[in-house]
């Protein structure tokens, strides 16, 4: 650790990993409800568990991004973070908000209250007071990192990272705008949901990937930056108007079908570029970096993101196809693999890279970490296939043959059981990963022992 304030990242990553455990456990319970629909229905209904599953995912990914920024910005800007105090205060606000959200959801507190009660728009259900807290925390964060970068060295990596983080914070402001008209409501809702994951988050992902490649492969910064700019340009070119692929059936004009189909088809390009980038860098770079697990996660992230976001996204993005598949298990398959590949794995890559440095020791527990990679990635891949088959069957029975939704769901039982099994593998993998980061060392892969490169 070159700079003392990089230590801030440790607490962000720790909080993120705790929420990661909560998120996958929630997923496991939700997955079981698909198998046995009345499970926990009195105690904690499905809609609450699903909210916890999705909200905790988003919060821990954001905590990971914030942590990654606090970790890599000092090294890139060549100076300490402007104010560690603000950074810790920001974390406390976010954690209090998260706790508030969980308690509000689980006990349905202050139902209907405009300020304290849950808001009910998917993914941005948080009570208004939590949203205000998120904005305050985001402002503190942006002030803190921007001041650091402005006073220090400016690199393409920090520029792109800040562009992504500023963008995602500004877009979140649409969470406060909730028009009465349902079509307008959905239209603006996608300004957050789509322009986060298919716009600003991609920039954050690309800059973290570029940082990891720079550190682990030893390829020239100039070459890394060229790739980064191409990735960012193609991501924004395709992703912004790609929002149109959510405007097919919500009451927006028909021309969105063509804008959405054409631009969102091109969204596969930045993901392909990220995959090509990471592999080309590892081949060209001659450095034999000791942190094999972090490299595995970085390569895995860009590969699985290409398949999950790119290929599985394209699968149902053309409006002629989406007319049939909209809102079926195909969407669930895409959503799971895309989030896991692009954002979960990239976060786990930077955790794997940073944790040994933050704790001032060798990259221990590598084998365990890599086992967790294959367990999680294998589980997620299996889940994606199972849900894709389920979605295909569902599309045919429900949309083509016109059968009843619930009747079709009954017929998908076996798929849901297999999905639960693959989810269990992911949960075990996640717990192994957390253990590998936190528990005392066991085995090391280093020169002279076993897996010599």
């Amino acid at each position: 650790m070159k700079y003392q304030t990089q230590k801030i990242a440790y607490w962000y990553f720790l909080a993120a990993m705790i929420l990661f455990a909560v998120q996958v456990s929630g997923g496991l319970i939700a997955g079981w409800i698909y198998v046995q629909p009345n499970f926990l229905s009195e105690l904690m209904p499905f809609n609450i568990i699903r909210m916890l599953h999705t909200n905790s995912l988003v919060v821990w990914l954001l905590l990971g991004f914030f942590g990654a920024a606090y970790f890599l910005i000092p090294e890139e800007a060549e100076r300490e973070i402007h104010s560690p105090m603000i950074a810790y205060l920001q974390l406390i606000i976010l954690l209090v908000g998260t706790l508030g959200v969980v308690v509000t959801y689980v006990f349905n507190l202050f139902h209907g209250n405009w300020f304290l009660g849950m808001e009910g728009r998917e993914f941005i259900e948080q009570p208004v007071w939590v949203k205000v807290g998120i904005v305050v925390a985001a402002l503190m964060f942006l002030y803190n990192v921007t001041m650091t970068v402005l006073k220090g060295r400016k690199t393409a990596i920090t520029n792109v990272l800040l562009l992504g983080l500023w963008g995602l914070a500004l877009l979140f402001l649409f969470a406060f705008y909730n028009p009465e008209n349902l079509a307008l409501d959905k239209m603006f809702w996608w300004y957050i949901v789509h322009l986060w994951v298919e716009g600003t988050w991609e920039l954050v992902m690309a800059s973290i990937l570029a940082y990891l490649m720079l550190k682990m492969t030893g390829v020239d910064r100039e070459i890394i930056e060229k790739w980064l700019y191409i990735i960012v340009a193609t991501a924004l070119f395709s992703g912004i108007l790609g929002t149109g692929h959510h405007y097919y059936w919500i009451g927006t004009p028909g021309y969105w079908q063509w804008i959405g189909s054409i631009f969102s088809s091109l969204e596969v390009i930045p993901f392909f570029a990220m995959m090509a980038f990471s592999f080309v860098m590892v081949w060209k770079g001659k450095r034999d970096h000791p942190n094999k697990a972090a490299l595995l996660w970085a390569l895995g992230a860009s590969t699985v993101a290409f398949f999950g976001a790119g290929v599985w996204g394209f699968l149902h993005t053309l409006h002629g196809v989406n007319y049939y598949t909209h809102g079926t298990q195909i969407t669930a398959a895409h959503g799971h693999l895309a989030f896991f590949g692009a954002y979960v794995s990239m976060n786990l890559a930077i955790f794997s890279y940073a944790f040994p440095i933050l704790r001032g020791r060798d990259p221990y527990n590598q084998v365990l970490n890599m086992v967790s990679f294959w367990l999680m990635t294998g589980g997620m891949a299996f889940m994606t296939f199972v849900l894709t088959f389920a979605g295909t069957v569902q599309t045919h029975m429900q949309r083509v043959l016109g059968e009843n939704f619930m009747d079709v769901q009954e017929g998908l039982g076996l798929f849901y059981l297999m999905r639960w099994g693959s989810g269990a593998a992911v949960v075990i993998g996640a717990l192994l990963f957390i253990y590998a980061q936190l528990a005392p060392r066991r085995e090391v892969i280093s020169q002279g022992t076993g897996e010599e490169a």
């Binding site: 028909g254 060209k284 001659k286 020169q447 490169a453």
Partner: protein
Amino acid sequence: MNQSPAPVPAMAEQDHPLDSLPGDLMIWVLIVSELLVFGAGLLAFLGVRIADPVAFAQDQDSLNRVAGAVNTIVLISSGYLAARAVHSPNKMRLWLSGSMVLGLVFLVVKWFEYTAKAELGIGIETSQFFTFYYLLTGFHAMHVVAGLVIFALIMRWPNPRNLEGAAMFWHMVDLVWVLLFPIIYLVR
């Protein structure tokens, strides 16, 4: 396997094939992206046309082919003047002004075409043909506007490298029109 040496700045010394491209790499990324979008749009247009050739032919007949042909000549001439601007640094402003005037002429002609359609009550939702017509020519016209803004910036802050990039962008706008015009206005 033997231990590899200290980090090597890979590819740093050798010339990359991309380095021999004129202009900035990023303008090529943009040009290729634009061609993909317009290409996909035109393919979709032709694909949808197969399903209903009669309606498409009817709608196409209501277009002003003369205006389209005039605009083709105008835009290609504008591209020529932009190329001259790149090659004659002393008269750069003169050539570029000429190129911009023709760009404006293109937009004025396009404006008359659009208003004539609007007076007949024809809009983007009128038919499949007109959805594509307005999407493709509308996006293209926005690029003409963008090109004029870029040229204006270059006139204010001249720089050979940026001028080259701007001219490349302008040629792309030309090229797209040369594809749009026959496919949307002429092909039967």
